[in-house]
Subunit: 343 residues, 2 copies
DNA sequence: TACAACGATGATAGCGCTATCATGGTAGCG
DNA sequence: CGCTACCATGATAGCGCTATCATCGTTGTA
């Protein structure tokens, strides 16, 4: 009884048709069917059409897992970001996705929640998926993770900030950006300036901007002061930041927020409190989110080209994957000051 | 010469160590090494430790592609959304991701740009990756795509709205939500109400809300009017919507916007124009984004539990994958009216 | 003490595809 | 007309892993 089914070892993964069945229906060998799909120019037009018809007829869906195993590479690009809550990373992802998808790559998205151990774990998983390249936000990794990235023999793109990258690097100089805004505030005549950041132990790019900010203030002979919020950037937190500044540093003339979410939250809160901006207090942000340009007064901020970062990063990776030597390993996308009326 | 290298057929995909090498070092068979990783409870503790040590020593990274091929299933969950520009989908994705990742699943993200053909293509690709389940935003697909989903023999979760789903369904009743807001506006005494949407041919959930809105107005003996914007929801478009309403329907008392981005854009624009909200014009939105609750007056809107949708959807899919029969195939997450001062 | 039950491990055979080499046919060339 | 060059196609052999069945002790129970 148990032997009645002669092929007990049969363990087809699914009832999906396979390339072999397509090939049989089309009257060609499996490898020709494979070529009809992957390198159509190497197959006679008529043959190819016959194969495609057979695929259509059977409702064939290529098993990409098998293809990847056989060819030892997949059309996956691993993208690792620290957070999805932050519009900044979303926009970078958009830039990456549109470019990669149009080149036929599929994005594998990982979220570290600002945890470098988690990042290491994700890198391992993605390498296990034979991804063609990795894109990760930031230059900070655990030593083991950095080693893994350096030795993994595929393009590694680190985006957002510039510095000592493992391989490719697209971003901007956050230190300079923070300094630029501080200079702007000083030019406007503000002397009592406070920097407000959120969870800066995690958000080290905000800390880099703060360092740039400090340097400028110190050069001008001013004492920098910092308020650090517990919660990550949000309108909520920005409002709270404003309250805290008014409480701890009542003589403050201008607040330099670590990002636009905080700054806009503070600006809207100031309106509720009946404060004049910038008359009573000036407010500046960072990022150049659309939101900040729709409030009154418009937010003074630093425009960072986020979607562009994604697009350029994807472009460079694609170039590299296509085999062309990439000339520039580091790419500074720059930034510019957007002067609103809030300062 | 060409034969000197006896094993010319050698084509190792990479120089990564394999399970076989790990097994050899640990002095066990490959299958035991595999079990040490995947079903540790079926391996003697000492043996398992020896295997894990060997893995550590060699820097072994499991080839998940090979594993998926052999086992005919992957730890991938396909997630297909129409847009990444819209905060709503981002939040759903966050809910999905946190839940799926903690259950050991990896998300494959696809973006259709509101194109059902593109969706079909993505479904094919993801099925080709042997994903364990598919989550897609919305119930509208091409017939071929729907057929593919129905026949693919794994959990299919359709989120956002409720209706005739292929398999599982988590969402809310957009028709009712649109009606609820219309009722609110009528209760407030507004009679000249305009609905403003953006690209509603694509955003058919906005159209469903509009239909609910119309029904309520018609029941009250009022004539609904609609303004449709070309651009997708954004603060920018909302401002433009307000201008257009004031131009085309100067006697309008209240505007029911298709979403909070539009509504907030209009609200901020009204402030710039010196209009009183709701004195000169009342404004309502949909979604309950945090932004709308930080402007003055606070936006009246409908709170949709977006991250919850993602979390519940992921939970149901995981239950199904774990083998337990899912009792409820449809799950209404509901909504509630958030009364701000803008109406 | 015999035998079923179970726990730990191994041998074998693929999963569905593609890299590699091989083959037969046709065109180009002196 | 013989030769190389190239094009279209096929045969073979894996990619690295796991499903399945088999094996061999060790326990527990009658």
């Amino acid at each position: 009884m148990s032997k009645s089914n002669g092929r007990a070892r049969q363990r087809r993964g699914s009832d999906q048709p396979t390339l072999a069945e397509v090939a049989e229906l089309a009257g060609v060998s499996p490898i020709t069917a494979s070529r009809a799909l992957n390198t159509p120019e190497r197959v006679n037009d008529a043959t190819r059409q016959r194969v495609l018809d057979a695929m259509d007829h059977l409702g064939y869906v290529p098993n990409l897992v098998a293809g990847s195993l056989a060819s030892a590479r997949s059309k996956f690009i691993a993208v690792i970001v620290p957070s999805l809550a932050n519009a900044v990373f979303i926009e970078v992802i958009k830039g990456l996705q549109s470019t990669f998808e149009s080149a036929g790559y599929q994005i594998l998205l990982g979220n570290t929640d600002y945890d470098v151990e988690r990042e290491h774990q994700l890198v391992r998983t993605f390498l296990g998926w034979s991804c063609s390249a990795l894109v990760t936000a930031g230059l900070r990794h655990t030593p083991a993770c950095r080693e893994l990235l350096a030795g993994c023999d595929r393009p590694v793109m680190e985006v957002m900030e510039l510095g000592e990258a493992v391989d490719l690097n697209v971003g901007l100089d956050h230190h300079a950006a923070g300094g630029r805004m501080a200079s702007h505030l000083l030019e406007r005549g503000y002397r009592h300036v406070v920097y407000v950041g959120a969870r800066m132990a995690d958000d080290y790019r905000a800390r880099m901007r703060y360092e740039g900010h400090c340097k400028v203030l110190e050069t001008a002979g001013l004492e920098p002061s910092l308020i650090e919020l517990e919660r990550l950037g949000s309108l909520e937190a920005g409002a709270q930041g404003l309250d805290q500044v008014r409480n701890d540093h009542p003589d403050t003339e201008a607040i330099h927020f670590a990002n636009d979410d905080l700054a806009t939250g503070a600006l809207l809160h100031a309106q509720r409190l009946g404060l004049r901006v910038p008359g009573d207090i000036a407010i500046a942000g960072f990022n150049g989110l659309s939101l900040g340009q729709h409030v009154t007064p418009r937010l003074t901020t630093i425009q960072s080209p986020r979607e562009t970062i994604g697009r350029i990063a994807a472009g460079e990776v694609i170039k590299r994957l296509a085999g062309s030597r990439v000339n520039r390993r580091r790419h500074d996308v720059g930034f510019h000051l957007l002067e609103g009326e809030s300062t």
